[in-house]
């Protein structure tokens, strides 16, 4: 391939990419199209670490009972994470300068634009109208990309299940929400550390609590904007990082990081083979035709040249023959004359 063709291919590839439609990740207080999506506010100043929420979740989801009963509060001394038998856990934290320990409930945050849904290439995760991020085990292939993608480390896997392991996480009690009931943990909490409502209302409640109690809470609702916004939000007196919550997540949804690159995939996979292949084929054909014509022209030129040469050769040969004959004649004549001369001169001498 010559340079011009190569540059032309490059140019065509670039222009076609630009023509692809850019996909945006949404970033708004509500998920676009889901104005009534539910949300829950967790107030870290109210939680007393009684584990009633864990007990209720275990009962409603028919999960296996844990080794230590839910009334055993020693369990809170070790930091736990969600597991395939525990969709939610409560951990104890000791913020600097706090007289009493602070407790935090960990569960799926049901993000507005979930990272797990973005990473899943079989669309097993879906953000629903109710606000829940639901999981469809029937399409899951078990790649566990969702576990890597989740910034909060929530999805867990049934490693002990040999034949049909599933990804396990909080379901937001979607069946109960459909019946108009509260999620099991929200209903079980004796201190109303968990409050359920529409996302906008929950944000208002959180703001009101922060304003009505100046100096009590951190002036920030965790989850309002983190990772593009989550349905489960937290307010706390202690700084969030002292409760083991990541503060480095930013406000971009997980999907937005890859949206740009992924929107180029259809172009690359669909259009480039056709476009670039076509341009390549056309240019190749042009080359081939040019090659052929060149060959023909060369052959013709050779043929003409050789014919000319042939003619010239025979011409010269003929001329040469004639010249030769004449020379021979001349020589013969000369010889005859010489002979005749010598004859006459001999007679004289007598």
């Amino acid at each position: 391939m010559n340079r011009r063709t190569f540059l032309g291919l490059l140019g065509a590839a670039g222009v076609s990419l630009g023509a692809s439609s850019a996909s945006h990740a949404a970033s708004a207080a509500d998920v676009k199209g889901l104005p009534d999506s539910g949300a829950v506010l967790f107030d870290a100043t109210r939680c007393i670490g009684c584990r009633k929420c864990e007990e209720a979740c275990n009962a409603v989801n028919e999960l296996p009972k844990p080794a230590a009963p839910f009334s055993d509060l020693k369990v809170l001394d070790t930091a736990r994470r969600t597991s395939d038998a525990a969709f939610t856990v409560v951990n104890t934290y000791h913020p600097a300068g706090a007289q009493a320990p602070v407790f935090r409930k960990i569960q799926c945050n049901h993000c507005l634009e979930p990272a797990c849904a973005s990473a899943c290439f079989v669309k097993a995760f879906q953000k629903n109208e109710s606000g829940a991020v639901s999981y469809d085990a029937s399409v899951c292939v078990g790649c566990r990309y969702c576990m890597i993608a989740c910034p909060f480390n929530i999805p867990t896997y049934e490693y002990n299940e040999a034949l049909a392991p599933r990804v396990r996480k909080c379901t937001f009690c979607e069946p109960r929400l459909k019946e108009g009931k509260l999620p099991a943990c929200v209903e079980a909490c004796p201190k109303e550390a968990l409050v359920f409502g529409k996302r906008r209302e929950i944000i208002h409640i959180a703001r009101a609590r922060i304003m009505d109690n100046p100096g009590k809470y951190q002036d920030h609702i965790y989850g309002e904007h983190e990772m593009g916004g989550t349905a489960w939000m937290t307010i706390s007196a202690a700084p969030f990082r002292e409760l083991g919550m990541r503060e480095d997540l930013g406000v971009e949804t997980a999907g937005s990081y890859t949206a740009g690159a992924l929107s180029a995939v259809p172009v690359v996979v669909g259009m480039w083979p056709v476009l670039l292949g076509g341009i390549y084929a056309v240019s190749k054909r042009k080359e081939r035709i040019a090659e052929e014509e060149k060959r023909e022209a060369v052959a013709e030129a050779i043929a003409r040249a050789s014919a000319e040469a042939e003619a010239k050769l025979s011409d010269e040969l003929g001329k040469a023959e004639v010249a030769n004959k004449r020379r021979i004649e001349v020589e013969v004549k000369k010889a005859l004359e010489a002979a005749a001369q010598s004859q006459t001169s001999g007679e004289d001498k007598q």
Partner: protein
């Protein structure tokens, strides 16, 4: 190729040796990272960076340990004959200056650098020449210019509270002018400071004139005022040193950094001061101040309305009782000892007062010297926090909250108030105010009132939500009487809990005080939280009870005053501690 192969192991061996040597040097340095003396906390760390006023620094700031030098020099006797004056020269007036080997900063930075280098390195070299252990000398730049100190600073600012003041005042008891030893006033005629002649002329705390940095006010009296740091060290330390020079047994104050600034915490310093003072000593700083006074806003009489005062009721203020609460006068009188509203915090606000009006100055909940904020701080104490953690700050419309301080004047004196308000400051005016205040304060009941005991239910059975658990039997009367008993001697509580129903409103909130307050369930729905964010009944009950226990820090504890056989306060997570499990 052969030669190259031979060189590789050789160079590797050299490299390995270099790495080992380097690491061992590092280990040695790290091993010496902790200082040899004390536990790494020093109160005498000075960071010398004066050259930054002359341009950007080319070397890190010098870390100078002051006590280390004074103690080292003290051991040398002969070298230290001049004591502080070895480094801090005496000025023309015979007073020891506070700069190092100079009276003032020279014009050129190079000159200043020379003073320090010659002074420090010169002395170090002298001592080293005599065979003594000494500090860094030439070519050891970074030993002085270390930037950050190795030891941690335990320096604490020193506050002259009433205890410390008492100890100092005691030393001057026998003098004709006891206050003048420390407190001075500026004499514009003589253009220098002179001791205050008597107590009433003392301007007050040093910090009123001596600010954080040297101040220069053109045409001011005086024009130049040195910083609090220079003033306090110049006056206090020199006096301590001079007193010590009087003899070995003469009691004097510290002359080292750690003596005043650490490493003891403020609590330790207070305890130490208290030990030096007799048990029932009168710590009051005497300045002929009134015991009680009437805080009356200086509002001029309105035209056409003589005899009417357009302002809130005056506040009779027990000044003497409040003096015992702050560390010193400066706790409230933060700029000057003059009356708050005279020139600075006028009713409408003035430039002198930073545009803070009198009302704001008295009521601001966030300042640390307003009346309301100080009372709010007291409410955070454990015996108060059980209720006051939930009580929202009073809003302006809450009339009853104002009346605790703004007392209606007696009818016979009400007529004289407008004139009193407008009158300029004078001893007669102050006397009259004190008299009126005393009248109002003496008649005031200072006890926490309650409803009659028979009207306080003995036990309350909380059964509205009983399902998984039985009703909670709440020992209502015992708790109410117990809390009232704990507040018996608390003057602040007694001043404000003046109505019979006030204490009840700690729990029976958001409704007028009454012998029959509304049931919790009439405002808190059993079903769940309300739309305005108010908790549901279960959360309201749990939040109120557990919140009080947490705020008071009594969960799991038993009060000393509780009758025998009483169970300790249940932990928040101990459900059956408050209500038994429901029988199946």
């Amino acid at each position: 190729m052969e030669e190259r192969k031979k060189r590789i192991p050789g160079s590797l061996a050299v490299l390995a040796l270099c790495v080992i040597a380097g690491l061992s040097v590092l280990a040695v340095r790290l091993g010496h990272a902790t200082p040899q003396e004390d536990d790494g906390f020093r109160a005498d760390i000075l960071s010398i960076g004066v050259l930054k006023d002359y341009g950007p620094l080319t070397q890190p700031k010098v870390v100078f340990l002051h006590d280390k030098h004074t103690s080292a020099l003290a051991k040398l006797g002969a070298k230290y004959k001049a004591q502080c004056n070895t480094c801090h020269l005496k000025g023309k007036d015979g007073k020891t200056g506070l700069f190092f080997l100079r009276e003032a900063n020279p014009a050129a930075g190079g000159e200043l650098k020379k003073i320090y280098h010659d002074g420090c390195i010169g002395c170090h070299s002298d001592l080293a020449g005599s065979g003594l252990k000494s500090g860094p000398r030439d070519v050891e730049c970074k030993r002085c210019h270390a930037g950050e100190p190795v030891a941690k600073s335990s320096w604490k600012p020193l506050q002259v509270d009433r205890l410390l003041h008492f100890r100092h005042a005691r030393t001057q008891e026998k003098q004709t002018n006891p206050c003048g030893a420390c407190h001075h006033v500026y004499d514009p005629a003589a253009k220098k400071t002179a001791p205050a002649a008597k107590a009433e002329l003392v301007p007050g705390a040093c910090a009123y004139c001596h600010k954080a940095a040297d101040t220069v006010t053109k045409g001011g009296t005086p024009e130049k005022v040195r910083s609090l740091r220079l003033a306090s060290h110049g006056e206090c330390v020199t006096c301590h040193v001079q007193t010590a020079a009087k003899g070995a047994g003469v009691a004097t104050g510290p002359a080292t950094c750690s003596g005043c600034h650490g490493p003891l915490s403020q609590k330790d310093i207070e305890a130490h001061n208290r030990k030096q003072v007799p048990e029932n000593a009168d710590l009051r700083i005497q300045r002929k101040q009134p015991d009680q006074t009437l805080i009356l806003a200086p509002v001029p009489a309105a035209s056409g309305q003589p005899g009417k005062l357009f302002t809130m009721n005056p506040v009779p203020f027990d000044h003497r009782a409040h003096e015992a609460r702050g560390a010193s006068c400066a706790a409230c009188h933060h700029e000057t000892l003059a009356s708050c509203g005279a020139t600075c915090h006028t009713v409408a606000g003035s430039k002198d007062g930073g545009q803070v009006t009198l009302a704001q100055a008295m009521h601001s909940p966030t300042s640390d010297r307003s009346c309301v904020s100080c009372h709010a701080k007291e409410q955070k104490r454990a015996e108060c926090a059980g209720c006051h953690a939930f009580v929202k700050p009073a809003k302006a419309a809450d009339q009853a909250a104002c009346a605790a301080c703004h007392m209606a004047p007696k009818p016979e004196t009400a007529g004289a108030l407008p004139a009193l308000a407008a009158a300029p400051a004078s001893p007669a005016r102050d006397q009259e105010r004190a008299r009126l205040a005393a009248q109002l304060l003496d008649g005031r009941a200072m006890t926490t009132r309650l409803y009659p005991v028979e009207d306080i239910p003995e036990k309350v059975s909380i059964k509205a939500l009983a399902k998984d658990y039985q009703a909670a039997e709440f020992p209502h009367r015992r708790i109410v009487l117990g809390m009232a008993a704990a507040l018996k001697d608390n003057r602040l509580a007694n001043a404000f809990h003046t109505d019979e129903g006030t204490l009840c409103r700690g729990c029976h909130h958001m409704s007028p005080a009454s012998k029959t307050p509304p049931h919790c369930g009439s405002c808190h729905a059993a079903a769940g939280p309300g739309p305005d964010g108010r908790p549901g009944l279960k959360a309201a009950l749990h939040g109120q009870c557990m919140g009080c226990h947490s705020a008071m820090g009594i969960a799991g504890k038993l009060s000393k005053a509780a009758p025998a056989g009483t169970k300790p306060v249940p932990l928040n997570t101990d459900c059956t501690g408050c209500h038994q499990q429901a029988k199946k």
